[in-house]
Point group: C2
């Protein structure tokens, strides 16, 4: 499968590197086709790794990963082009964090709406699956770095798309029983609103190397 | 110790019953000194259990528990009387849920503020400790009904008050290592904003008999 990754930060490069290591072709998308961070990543990750604009990444990929900052996401998707997003799975890893008012950040959207929902509403033919947004990047692709059972949430309107994304998560090391399908894309509100607590726990533990489990 | 409990719902009665069973005197507070639910609870729980108005409960208690609905909390505390709340520990178990727009509920306050903070701001001489609000009532007083390790959060400005509340939680069956102090009362934002996710998980599991763990 060909993957397009929007965003050259720690989340984007961690996920892109994992996918390349699994033998997938990955295009790292950025505003510029010659983005330096993307170029550096391509250099490190061999022939299956390439770079391009957001539009290039969307056009030439089967599955897309949105790893941009929440404040940039909607603009990035516009640059990617609606036609290039249609009928594709978009794995939305972003969180609508607002760092402009200092730490800890607040959310730009929450409670009665979410970024996941905004994306789905704006791109109705895209199959948005919100996941991976409730943990630090290293845990996303290496869940077994933490001991025992812990959970990852899936939110989205398309059951088939969620199944495909679940299968990808399993290749990352997630156990099938750790994947918790919360329902449609409106459940993104819950997972995005977990971020303020996540950030406080990170402050308390002085580490992002943790994840939530649901004990029942 | 004498406890005053505001709120005669499942949370209030569960906590009040546990405290009475431990030998504490508990006054169940309500709008009316003859509230029927409170009377029923008193009848069941013997000589250490009594009932009164919110004011009675606050006046005659060392430690207060706010188990009212979030939408009623500030009005209830007003009825309890500022002077009766001064220099007392108020364990705030409430969540600012708004059921008026249908299910799932939204929050009446979140993101840049929280109900815990609003209470603390309005009653600066009260030592507000936000805790217990991230789980169903049966888990609060019987954490060992769930297998293994899981967590309970503490938020509050007064370290001594948090220690006292932590000790009470330990008598409920919580392990010291399960009590996660998130810092000052502003961290209530994080725990209150967990509710939308909690409700979605309850919907998925079709049960409220669960709690979060932080795996690290």
């Amino acid at each position: 499968m060909n993957f397009g990754v929007f965003g050259t930060g720690i989340v984007g490069t961690t996920l892109a590197t994992k996918l390349v290591s699994q033998g997938h072709k990955v295009i790292m998308g950025a505003r510029s086709a010659t983005n330096e961070k993307a170029a550096e990543w391509v250099k490190k990750n061999g022939p299956k790794a390439s770079q391009g604009t957001f539009e290039d990444a969307a056009l030439n990929s089967d599955i897309l990963l949105n790893c941009t900052k929440g404040e940039a996401t909607l603009q990035v998707l516009k640059l990617a082009g609606e036609y290039n997003l249609d009928k594709k799975i978009l794995i939305d890893v972003s969180n609508p964090l607002d760092f402009s008012k200092g730490m800890p950040p607040t959310l730009t959207v929450c409670n009665t709406d979410s970024l996941g929902e905004q994306i789905q509403k704006q791109y109705p033919l895209t199959m948005v699956v919100k996941t991976l947004n409730t943990m630090a990047a290293p845990v996303m692709t290496n869940p077994r770095m933490l001991p025992g059972f812990h959970v990852i949430f899936l939110c989205g309107n398309d059951a088939n798309a969620k199944e495909i994304v679940g299968d990808i998560l399993i290749t990352f090391g997630w156990k099938k029983e750790e994947i918790l399908d919360l329902g449609d894309i409106t459940s993104s509100r819950g997972t995005e609103m977990l971020l303020p607590l996540w950030l406080r726990i990170m402050g308390t533990l002085k580490s992002g190397a943790f994840n939530f489990n649901v004990v029942k």
